[in-house]
């Protein structure tokens, strides 16, 4: 059975999805990731989907689930590198991934995570920009 590797970097977990997800793989990732968050006491999860060309409503739901579950375990989730075609398709499908933070690339995602964790009292915002404006 294929597995998607989860890397630990400080208090963050990094996941790079390099293959197109099928249902079982995505469900395994969800379970593994939540386990890891709890085990490592991670504060943030960074999921890089720049190599993923298809995200349907099932995958979208898994991503949403990971974000919600991590949130309960006090970790923020940032999805980075979504392809334009995937973004357009998700919106048309009716899946705006509410509650999931997004960033253009790994570097920006890392910055966003850090800014969110440095100000723990701040409410989770949908848009990364609000973090800039808040001050």
């Amino acid at each position: 059975m294929d597995k998607i590797p989860i890397l630990r970097m400080g208090s963050f977990l990094l996941v790079t999805i390099q293959v197109d997800l099928y249902d079982r793989l995505a469900l395994n990732l969800e379970a593994d990731l939540v386990q890891m968050v709890q085990k490592t006491n991670a504060r943030g999860v960074l999921i890089d989907i720049s190599a993923v060309s298809i995200v349907d409503s099932f995958m979208g739901r898994i991503i949403g689930n990971i974000a919600s579950m991590s949130k309960i375990l006090d970790a923020e989730t940032v999805v980075v590198g979504m392809q334009p075609a995937v973004a357009i398709t998700l919106i048309e499908l009716g899946l705006p991934l509410k509650g999931v933070h997004t960033a253009l690339n790994m570097e920006k995602g890392m910055d966003l995570l850090k800014s969110m964790i440095d100000t723990p009292e701040e409410e989770a915002n949908d848009q990364p920009l609000d973090d800039f404006v808040a001050e």
Partner: protein, 289 residues
């Protein structure tokens, strides 16, 4: 059509061509700038050969008969080329009508003494030529439509430039009506450019959009949502007061979207969001002179 007429036209082919050419050259609608006389003659000859060759007493009343296909094909080809070359409908039509004149003239000369036959045969020739004219027009219009469709595609391709106004800030001025097809292209170009430049803010300026209805608003909201999914922010600027009025009257909810009345204020917002500052310097910059 009687056996006679069919044979007669076959025999008089050369003569008909001469008459037809004379008619065409005398016509004031002749476009020597678009087509040379030699080319016109070879086109005409090809058509007559095919027409006379395929004409028989059986098929004269039935334009759908298969024997007419070669004629229609030649005529269609000529009509399409003319549509592309920029001939007017009248000029294209007179090509076929002048042939009808020539054919009828030949019939007249041959049947001078028998009015009854002349009438019957002329009617048949008339009918077949009218049908061919209709085919010509149909094809001509199809040719023109193709030209229009191609131009529409071209306009859609070129009319959406994405501008880098600052490091990390993109602007996209939209000019003209936003329909679904256009939004598609705008959105794709914008998102692609965001990825390529790593820009975190995009400004969509709609100063040049004449009207915003609920469909256009939906398209805008879609573009903003997709931008956010990728991890960037999209600001809509250039909203004129009358557009603000229509949006509210139509009950469209834009509260989740950052809107600014001018591109300048959108840019100011973008600078602030990126923690950039633009200010007057206290010292005057000295020029080299």
């Amino acid at each position: 059509m009687s056996f006679n007429t069919s044979q007669l036209l076959q025999k008089k082919k050369k003569y008909i061509l001469e008459l037809w050419m004379k008619n065409q050259l005398a016509d004031e609608g002749l476009r020597e700038d678009l087509i040379s006389n030699e080319e016109l003659r070879s086109q005409s000859e090809e058509l007559i050969n095919s027409l006379v060759g395929n004409l028989s007493s059986e098929n004269v009343a039935d334009i759908n008969s298969d024997e007419w296909n070669p004629v229609i094909e030649i005529l269609g080809g000529i009509a399409i080329t003319r549509a592309r070359q920029g001939f007017s409908p009248r000029e294209t039509g007179s090509f076929v009508f002048s042939l009808k004149d020539a054919l009828i003239q030949v019939l007249q000369e041959e049947n001078k003494n028998d009015a009854k036959v002349l009438f019957a045969e002329s009617l048949k020739i008339s009918r077949i030529m009218d049908n061919l004219s209709i085919v010509t027009f149909e094809t001509f219009i199809k040719g023109r439509e193709e030209v229009i469709l191609r131009q529409t595609d071209e306009i859609a391709e070129i009319s959406t430039p994405v501008i880098r106004v600052w490091d990390g800030i993109l602007a996209l001025p939209i000019i003209g009506t936003l329909d679904s097809a256009r939004t598609q292209i705008v959105m794709e170009n914008l998102l692609q450019e965001i990825v390529e430049t790593g820009s975190s803010i995009a400004i969509l300026d709609i100063s040049g959009v004449p009207a915003v209805d609920s469909l256009v608003a939906q398209h805008l909201i879609k573009t903003v949502s997709a931008t956010r999914l990728m991890g960037a922010e999209c600001i809509i600027s250039g909203i004129r007061p009358e557009i603000a009025q229509t949006v509210v009257h139509l009950g469209i909810d834009l509260s989740n979207i950052i809107t600014k009345s001018t591109l300048a204020s959108a840019l100011a917002y973008a600078f602030k969001a990126m923690k950039l500052e633009v200010r007057k310097t206290s010292t005057v910059l000295k020029s080299n002179f």
